[in-house]
Amino acid sequence: MRDTSKIAIGLVVFVVLVTFPFWYGAGKRAEPPVPSLDTPVIQGLEEKKCIEDTGFMREYHMQLLGDWRNWVVRDGKTVYVASDGKEYVMSLQNTCLRCHSNKSQFCDSCHHYAGVDPDCWSCHLAPEEPAPEEGAK
């Protein structure tokens, strides 16, 4: 057992490396993202409300967008009737991004924080930033 010291050193190095993320991050906190709602269209709204209430949108926007995609592309239905009875054209580019024209401040802020990378933008066009108001018809 002449290698005890080497094994011990190796074990210490191993444990330190494996636990590195824990003690490196100890005491620090990552600031939760605050998606910006400061766009000209949203500022101009009388009632600052998305198509459904904020809690629902925060939790289920991805399911809702998936449903929209299927309804529009596969079923040919284009109008969404919200729970308050208002009607919206189901379109990421023309409805969502008309108000949320600040993709980098809105969509990306949370997606980066959560480490998700939806591939919407390889086809769908995001409005140019910081050019205000433009991009939506």
């Binding site: 995609r69 596969r74 239905k77 284009t78 969404y80 919200a82 580019q93 066009l125």
Partner: protein, 260 residues
């Protein structure tokens, strides 16, 4: 404890089976009350959309040089203009008669149209071979006859391109974005690795507009309507004019007609 009899066991089983049946029925009713989508009241609908291209009008209006319909379509749908023909993407374009109609082998009757440019696009076939071969159902047939693509599902296998006898499909061999001069912000682009083709402007039909090519033609050479409507514009033209279709012998039942 009371011993369970065969009779009561069977009764219990029967009640359980009824319970299983009840769930789907209740679900169906529950869904009905949550219907949340509808269509634009102005949307155009049909049983089977068809296009008639009057080539006489097209040629009379300068069919060799006029590109209004092509430009309108490609701008509307963000179709890239890739100079390298090998990688070109096209939804509607011109093809010489011999290439568009290779089966029409009559020696002299067609002298007048030999070599002339014909406007070609997806035929939105009634028996579309592309729909049948698509392994992911990314290409599918809508109830109104449009052969539609769901680019979200396309895996780029190009079976549809092999199946289409009209060459109506293009593959994005490279990222199309740098080749789009005028981006239409209201419509998506495609990405590298998906197949694309004419969608008969379903996004315009949904708001009550005719297809972009039909609207753009300054010579009125393009007609569009419901083939199943006996009094419709399409059927009127088909009744009064001699029309041909591309490769009808294949049985795909193309829905684009040509007046020659």
């Amino acid at each position: 404890m009371k011993e369970i009899t065969r009779r009561s066991f069977l009764k219990l089983g029967g009640v359980c089976a009824l319970g299983l049946l009840a769930a789907p029925v209740l679900n169906a009713f529950g869904k009905g009350s949550l219907l949340k989508v509808t269509s634009d009241p102005a949307a155009k609908s049909a049983q089977r959309w068809a296009v008639v291209v009057d080539m006489q009008k097209c040629w009379a209006g300068g069919g060799e040089t006029c590109r209004e319909c092509i430009v309108a379509c490609h701008r509307e749908h963000n179709v890239p203009d890739i100079p390298d023909q090998k990688d070109a993407v096209k939804w509607i374009w011109k093809e010489p008669y011999e290439n568009a109609f290779p089966g029409q082998g009559n020696a002299y009757t067609e002298e007048g149209i030999r070599g002339k440019p014909f406007l070609v696009l997806c035929n939105h076939c009634t028996n579309a071979p592309c729909v049948r071969v698509c392994p992911t159902k990314a290409t599918f047939k809508r109830e109104d006859g449009v052969v539609m693509m769901d680019y979200h599902r396309c895996i780029g296998c190009r079976y549809c391109m092999a199946a289409c006898p009209y060459g109506a499909r293009s593959f994005n061999f490279r990222d199309p974005r740098p080749y789009i001069q005028h981006e239409n912000q209201a419509f998506p682009t495609r990405e590298k690795g998906v197949v694309e083709k004419c969608n008969l402007c379903v996004e315009r039909l949904a708001v009550g507009l005719p297809p972009a090519c039909v609207q753009a033609c300054p010579h009125g050479a393009l007609a569009f309507g419901d083939l199943e409507d006996p009094d419709g514009e399409v059927r009127k033209i088909l009744r009064t004019c001699y029309t041909i279709r591309r490769k009808p012998e294949l049985g795909t039942e193309p829905n684009v007609y040509y007046v020659i």
